[in-house]
Symmetry: D2
Subunit: 265 residues, 4 copies
């Protein structure tokens, strides 16, 4: 919780080429800025809006790519798991496990992830209150694991829309675990395009700034070389070329917030 960090990568492992390209650029940008970086990408999108949508390379092929990124580029990697069966193989490869927001209440999945002893990034569900996360986190802790991160990614707000309650970021950051702000899923318009989710890329940056100002310890971002061609989450993904400027401002805000602890209670 003492250094600003970034989790980023393409939403899904579209191709090994794209994954390496994004990972390499992100690693170099973050190194220049002195920001610890973790590569993220999914091997399977298990809950796409439509059954027609691209899901990814699958567990085996996906883990191979993640393993090579880790080895060849020397960056830690993170991915999300969707069932208890996947936890073992995934934990054998990645540095951080992530539980999906929709599955935040599935007790067995949380416990299985925590039991691996690896750090677990628990995404807060869109349908949970900030304080509900205490019970969610307790499920992971029950397995004896306290290497936990908690991610805010927006709350249900009417239909096909999310709102980020910055009180949630502030509240979670008063807890013992690092708080991540998922800046790109937070601007999704779930199901907003009928057979896929829409997104509001132009709000990624102001929301990320706001979240860091409210107390987030790190940010999570989907990044793509050409988001309009992305096979998943394009409308909300950040352009790789915009990343350096985005991170510079976030780092500036982060430093202000760390110099000035909140006083008003």
């Amino acid at each position: 919780k003492d250094r600003f960090f970034v989790i980023a990568g393409p939403c899904v492992l579209e191709s090994e080429e794209l994954a390496f390209s994004v990972a390499r650029t992100m690693r170099d940008v973050c190194r220049d800025l002195g920001i610890p970086y973790i590569f993220k990408s999914s091997y399977d999108k298990a809950n796409r809006t439509s059954i027609q949508s691209f899901r990814g390379p699958g567990l085996k092929a996906g883990l191979e790519v993640l393993g090579r990124i880790k080895a060849d580029l020397d960056v830690p990697v993170l991915t999300d798991v969707h069932s208890v069966e996947e936890v073992g193989p995934v934990a054998a490869v990645v540095d951080v496990l992530q539980t999906p927001a929709f599955l935040a209440r599935q007790t067995d999945l949380l416990v299985a992830c925590a039991r691996t002893g690896k750090p677990v990034n628990i995404k807060k569900a869109q349908f949970l209150a900030p304080w509900d996360m205490q019970q969610v986190v307790a499920k992971a802790e029950s397995a004896g694991n306290t290497r936990i991160l908690v991610t805010e990614r927006g709350s249900c707000f009417g239909y096909n829309n999310l709102v980020v309650d910055m009180r949630s970021v502030a509240l979670l950051s008063r807890g013992p675990y690092p708080v991540v702000f998922d800046a790109t899923h937070s601007v999704q318009l779930p199901g907003g395009q009928g057979i896929s989710s829409g997104g509001q890329r132009d709000f990624v940056e102001p929301l990320a700034r706001a979240a860091v100002a409210a107390g987030a310890d790190g940010v999570f971002m989907e990044v793509h070389e050409d988001p309009d061609q992305a096979l998943c989450d394009g409308p909300n993904s950040l352009r790789l070329k915009d990343v350096p400027a985005v991170l510079e401002a976030l780092l500036g805000i982060y430093h202000v917030t760390r110099r000035h602890a909140p006083v008003a209670r």
Copy 2:
């Protein structure tokens, strides 16, 4: 879609005795009113608020009880499944499979349930818009199964609260599948008691009436002999002794709505 029906039972299989007692009474009450009845209870509560909460007898023991209720009392039974692995054993026993609301977007689970050929009751997630259900249903249909029911159980409304949008019931009822209103989960206050969900039993009845008036084809209700002692969902469960009066009014409203098709478009 041409007869009012009821799905009901204790939230979880607390004991074989309770399950039989509720099933027998419900069966007799519904028979007297000429209402088709399906017994519902869970063998595992996979997403309780707290890890301390009672989860149920588990898959094997639970399916045995469900099998005996079906055989001994001659009532069809329904239960919910939480992972692809459970689908096969469950489908071997029950008459209707049910997918949980939180898992409404998990493609593999929906497809696996649909592939059994058994009727599938798909619960609409609290985080989905009514029209989002078209893509959810399409996932089940992709497996060649059109024996589908769709259940409304409320939408996220601020924190620790749900609201039932009766436009959703009306919209879903314009589709090809029977629409169920889950009258007791709809009055949950999710996480509202800190380590468990609260509930507003006194709103079960007005909401059920409203949903039937808005076009619901059937209702789903958690019923218990003594809800205050229930091991799960007590605050929102209906008292068994209140069921006959509740159903009589619902049946009256159902008949009015079927005599008078909506005209205003």
Copy 3:
């Protein structure tokens, strides 16, 4: 609170001709069904989305039309007031005063209306909880007036959308005053067309049925001969020709609910 009643008319007094035509038809339809009827129309729309929108004939000309409808057609009339200054002249003509939803918290307006001694229909604001209405009603009661009606017209639900929480109808109906369900404003999409509000006429009927089933004592409806040509609230207004069928079903549901008092607490 012992008879189902209807408040209806064109949103705004577009022309004396339209007002008389709607009032006469509504009066005759309601008489045939044995339903007490109150004519409603506005002389001024003080809070239109856009400054370009039609506002109405104004206080003086509007009250003259309302006075003639009352005298010539022998129907009680209701209209809404928007400032303390208007209360006196309006109360001299109409049978029921109405306070707008957006102004539900303006203490002086509520008190001024109540002081006239006339019945006051208080619309619940879109931004208030059902229980907040107790303090709103207390403001009117403080003027010694208990001839109060309370109207439900939907709650904010994300942006440009309202949801009707039928628990609100049920809760308000447990109080001492008749509860009105405003079936046409409840399906507005506020600001949903950029320079005016959209509406979902096809949900008027299911929502009205649901509200009566949940305990509403009467309904409020904007009615127009040709809603697509209406100068205000056309998208959510009901077609005059559809009214008899709509009311027949509501009356049927009303009678079921009165025969069967809710039992489940």
Copy 4:
């Protein structure tokens, strides 16, 4: 729009003494930090939750106090108006007029304020979408006045709760007018204490930081020497002694955001 500014003062003019004390301290603190400061306080709280609540000294006495603060302390003053009749007398004294959030759609009030030629701070209603403010602002502009400020103060989020959508701050800040973030009303829990509104003072600071990071040009804060004794809005008011530290951090964030214009679109 080129300098960070602060609007602050006690919610209501409880006493001349308190008003002077807060105004003097705020003026000095802001001068030291190089921040333009405007004093704000209300002469009448026209929409309190309960009719029992304190409303203020009234128009005449209140304007006298505001006039003396302006003259004696040499600070510009702002207050809110609640009816067309009040606009003239208020405009004769104050430097900035303010329209209340609940009245954001009352056309006549907006036009009357704008017609004075004085700057008008228009508060966005809790029931409006960010883009709805374009039509609200257009009403003021129609009177030929473009000295407009737009204030974000939260959106309805379930019952008795507000959420601040930082996308709104970002969107409004892309328009031509300065955007104010009302940091203390945004943490109100409207009606949350039954006969008065609750508040979450501990979220004032993180939300203000977030809003400035998202693009707000200035902040609005209710400030009191002893909030727990305040006659209005105590639970959300900031302690006067905490103001310097709060503003210092906001100024730091403001400077970061101005050095780094958002790039990601």
